[in-house]
Structures are given as structure tokens and as C-alpha cells.
Assembly symmetry: C2
Homo-oligomer: 174 residues x 2
């Protein structure tokens, strides 16, 4: 009974798809709510009945995937980078739209928080606060991710995970 009405599902799904399409075509910043409405063929008032603004739609579009990523990380918290790379590889289209250079930086920030939280409890280096170590690694991992996305996912996720392990030997986490 939670999601009973088909029309609601249809509207939200259509809007999400339109957003992804348009971000890939023209980049998030350049998009207008009206652009999304036209592409999705959804009425203006309908949009605002579902989302507060463009940003809310963006974040909602990432909700499902983020939840799954979080679950995976919770299940195996000792190798968040590997999980992130595999996850992105499985959802290339969405990750390209939301985490690539043309996506809004908001989603990246969320992922940053996710990975940062996981790393903070895994990493330890003598004489350096765990917070700082985690920050360095998280930023590095996301740098690798964005590079990978912008290079069309050349190489598999194992390769990238190997690169990370090679570049950050100061700890056990991968």
C-alpha cells in the first residue's frame, strides 16, 4: 500500500530518466526545470508536487543507488573503494550522469561523505589523525572515480582497485 498509485510511479520514473538523459547531453548546471518537464512531458505543477526543486530531483535520483551502496559497504566495511568502483561499473549510465564532471557536485559530496565515514574507521597511520588520513584517501578515491568515468570506464573495476591499493600502501584498506 506504500506506493499504490501507478501515476505517481510513472511521473517520478519519467522525471528521473529525463534528468539523466539531459545531464548526459548538456550537463546539470545548464538544465532548466522546464527542460526536464518538456523532455519528460510532465506538467509544471506536477513536478513541484513531487520535488521542491531541481536539486531535490537530482538527489532523489541517486537515492536508490546510494542506499544499495551503503548496504554493500556496511556488509564489507574493510574495502569501500573496491565496492564503490564495482558499484559504479554496474551503474555506468547513472554514475556518469551524477558523478562525472557534468553532474552536479552534490552527489559527489554525498558519496564523499559515505566513503569518508567508512574509511575513518578503517585507516590508521602513526602520528596523523585518522580524520586527515581518511580525508586524503577519500579525495583520492573520488579523484580516481571521476577520472575513470571521464575515460569511459576503460579498464575493469579490479584494475582501478589495484591502482588504489598500489598508490595507498600506508594502510590495509582497499
Amino acid at each position: 500500500m506504500a506506493e499504490e498509485d501507478r501515476r505517481v510511479r510513472r511521473t517520478r520514473r519519467t522525471l528521473h530518466e529525463a534528468l539523466i538523459e539531459l545531464v548526459l547531453e548538456r550537463g546539470y548546471e545548464r538544465l532548466t526545470v522546464q527542460d526536464i518537464l518538456d523532455r519528460a512531458d510532465v506538467g509544471r505543477s506536477t513536478f513541484y508536487a513531487h520535488f521542491r526543486d531541481k536539486e531535490a530531483l537530482l538527489l532523489a535520483s541517486f537515492d536508490d543507488i546510494r542506499d544499495r551502496l551503503r548496504e554493500d559497504i556496511d556488509a564489507a566495511p574493510d574495502r569501500p573503494a573496491t565496492l564503490l568502483f564495482e558499484h559504479a561499473y554496474q551503474h555506468q549510465r547513472v554514475y556518469r550522469a551524477l558523478c562525472g564532471r557534468q553532474g552536479g557536485s552534490l552527489v559527489i559530496q554525498h558519496v564523499h561523505g559515505l566513503i569518508g565515514d567508512a574509511l575513518r574507521e578503517q585507516l590508521a597511520v602513526d602520528g596523523v589523525p585518522a580524520e586527515v588520513v581518511a580525508e586524503f584517501h577519500t579525495s583520492g578515491i573520488l579523484g580516481l572515480l571521476v577520472w575513470w568515468i571521464d575515460h569511459d570506464f576503460c579498464h575493469g573495476p579490479e584494475w582501478l582497485a589495484g591502482v588504489y591499493r598500489r598508490l595507498a600502501p600506508s594502510t590495509m584498506a582497499s
Copy 2:
């Protein structure tokens, strides 16, 4: 004879100062051109005689500092991270406004390019493309920088440079 007119200097300086102030107070994204005009007490048409938009003002405000940073890096290209940290420490107010979390991400992107270019020619790790190594390190360094800024420059620049050296021992660059 290049910059003869005092009025021009005054206008540009006032606008830059107003921008920095307001970014520190309310964040770049939330700012209106009109806000900047009010704070600087400069006419609307005058603003557009100098800058195409808010973004152009932001980048111009970073021009001087960026040039000096580039010169420093060119002079000692083997330790770009250390130079960046020292540079930020010397210009805390501007860096806080332009590279902190509340600054537009544009300036950060510029710095990213600067550091990335320098690192790409310094780093080498067997079996990993230099491009990827540089991307990882650059992102990590900028992560450290942002963390440092957001923690009010606690510790000196040497400390942060030491942290970086400790976390990224896969190369000689510091």
C-alpha cells in the same frame, strides 16, 4: 600607462573585496550580483562594464594569487604540495573564501589543474599511468587543503606537508 585610471582600480578592488567578504559571510552560491553591488557601493552598469558575470569576478579575484602560485611552482616544480600549503597559509582569508567549502568550486578546479600539471611530470609509479597517479595525488592534496581551511588552518603548512609526505610515500614529490 597600463592601468592609469584610478577609478578603474578602485572599482575592481572594491568589487573583489566585497566578493570575498560576502562569500565568507554567506557562501558564493547564495550571492546575487546585486548583493555584491550593494556591498561595494558600485553601480550595476559599472559592474557589467568590467565583468561578464559573477563567475568572471570570482575568477578574476583569484588571478593575482594564482599567477604567483604558478610562478612559485615553476620555480620549484618538485614539491607543488608544499608550495600550495605555504601559499594558502600566506593568504588565508582569500583561500578560505575561494577554496573553502563555501567558495564556488571553480577556483578549486583551477588549482586542481595547476597542481595536476605539476605532479604529472614529477610522479612515477611502476605499472600505473602517470596521469592516474597524478589524479589521485592531486585530489588527495586538495582534500587535505580543504580540510585544513575548514579547520581554520590549525597546524602550520609544514605539518600538512609532512602529513602528505607520510601518506604518499610512493614517490619522491612533496
